[in-house]
């Protein structure tokens, strides 16, 4: 099952940990909210992506199905 990162915008408070942990795929906009590149997460990146999901203090970051 191909996965991609998703954000529940009603939960995201712009803590920014996702951009720190996944600097290649997540950047922060001028208000501090994440901008995702939208591409699928490759099997090699899955561990780091899961780590970022668990680290999100607002439980806003998820791995969803493409």
């Amino acid at each position: 099952m191909v996965k991609k990162l998703e954000i529940d915008w009603t939960r995201c408070d712009g803590h920014g940990l996702c951009a720190t942990l996944l600097g290649d795929d997540v950047v922060l906009d001028e208000w501090g909210f994440p901008v995702l590149d939208g591409r699928p997460v490759t099997p090699g990146e899955l561990t780091n992506a899961r780590r970022a999901v668990l680290a999100c203090p607002a439980l806003a970051l998820r791995l969803g199905e493409v």
Binding site: W9, T10, C12, D13, W31, F33, A60
Partner: protein, 408 residues
């Protein structure tokens, strides 16, 4: 019962009216309704699917999702509820409250008929307008339906009319869309399969059930035949709701409403798009993003960018406040358009950057729709942008685009 109308709505049709048939003398009570339309035939789920497929019927709330696909996604063993979304939260639209107020039985026929076919436990009608709610409640008293029908009042706010926000209200929750994007057909009312659509969709289904697909398709364009309700507003002599065949030329609608036949037109409301000129445009879904069927003529006398700025302020005020990019993005765009109006080129640059940061980054389509409206304004009013950057366009802001106040 008599219904006092503060502002009698103007209703007219181009061609033969279907939804608005028999309403010239006012609200149709059950007897008048049956005299005009006859009885609603009891059809099976399969027949509804076949009919909706044959005529390509799409939801009339704005998203334009095909009704046949919605029906196909529902489980065969029965569903929780059929929900009539009558919140009509798009401030320019009048068609839904007009149908609920004047033709409540047609809407209820469509909803109750489909509910029976889908083995739904109940029909829920979500309404904001008080007159419309009174009319629909009075109509329910007159009828004998196999499925119970309930009416709920919704708050008057733009995002409160979004399908999942309406479901949240009906469940006693907040009037905001939830963070997860789930389909009402899978997890709707009380997390159970639900058929939810706009008021006009149900009225169209009631007409379709009576006419059959062949007769229904005797007018309009072949891709989605039949009629549609349009609300015409702005710089027009005769604003109001018009029933037209699908695919009607925009110029015909404007002439009919007494609008200037040249000049920019807003299609689809405040989540819609500006067109520089009306000529050559035929109003049919999905080729034209009609939204809830709104056509607004701007006229030559007002400052276009000033009008857009006022609407931008209103759109920012209508954010549910849940999602950061929508809250900060729409507020930043208000500021950008304000600076652009007063001749600051940085306002123009910032607006373009912010328009790229807002769409797709919220729980509902409010940021997307707001950005679409503002981006199309920058495109269509390019000459006005240049005039403002050179000192101003010399026109006052007349308020041609209505912005709801407290009483909306």
């Amino acid at each position: 019962m008599t219904l006092v109308q503060e502002n009698p709505p103007l209703l007219r049709s181009i061609g033969q009216p279907r939804l608005l048939a028999g309403l010239l003398e006012g609200r149709a009570d059950l007897q008048h309704h049956l005299w005009t339309h006859g009885r609603q035939p009891q059809l099976s789920r399969e027949t509804y699917s076949e009919l909706a497929t044959a005529v390509g019927l799409r939801g009339r709330g704005g998203a334009g999702f095909p009704v046949a696909l919605k029906l196909a996604d529902l489980p065969a063993k029965g569903i929780e509820a059929v929900v009539v979304n009558g919140s009509e939260s798009e401030p320019l639209s009048r068609k839904d409250r007009l149908l609920l107020t004047l033709a409540p039985h047609l809407v209820l026929d469509g909803a109750a008929g489909l509910a029976q076919a889908l083995h739904a436990r109940e029909v829920l009608v979500a309404v904001h307008d008080a007159t419309a709610a009174a009319s629909i409640r009075a109509a329910i008293e007159e009828r004998q339906d196999a499925v119970p029908i309930q009416v709920s009042d919704t708050p008057g706010r733009f995002v409160a009319g979004e399908a999942r926000a309406v479901l949240s209200i009906l469940e006693g929750g907040p009037a905001v869309p939830p963070g997860r994007r789930v389909l009402p057909t899978r997890k709707g009312y009380h997390q159970r399969p639900t058929f939810l659509s706009n008021v006009e969709t149900f009225a169209q289904l009631a007409v379709l059930a009576r006419l059959g697909s062949r007769e229904f398709s005797s007018t309009g364009v072949s891709s989605e035949p039949g009629t549609q309700l349009l609300t015409v507003a702005g710089a027009v002599q005769r604003p109001g709701v018009i029933e037209t065949p699908t695919g009607v030329p925009l110029e015909t609608v404007l002439q009919y409403a007494g609008a200037p036949v040249a000049g920019p037109v807003l299609i689809g409301g405040y989540h819609g798009q500006w067109l520089p000129r009306p000529d050559g445009i035929k109003l049919s879904r999905p080729e034209v993003a009609l939204g809830a069927g709104i056509v607004v003529a701007l006229g030559p006398d007002t400052c276009p960018l000033g009008e857009v700025h006022r609407v931008a302020q209103w759109l920012a005020s209508q954010s549910a406040g849940q999602c950061g990019p929508c809250v900060f993005g729409t507020a930043a765009l208000v500021d950008d358009f304000g600076r652009l109006l007063s001749g600051d080129p940085a306002g123009w640059h910032d607006a373009h950057r912010h328009l790229g940061l807002v769409p797709g980054r919220g729980a509902c389509a409010h940021p997307d729709g707001s950005a679409r409206f503002l981006a199309s304004a920058l495109e269509v009013f390019g000459d006005d942008v240049r005039q403002h950057l050179a000192g101003g366009c010399g026109r006052a802001v007349l308020g041609v685009l209505p912005v709801p106040g407290g009483g909306w």
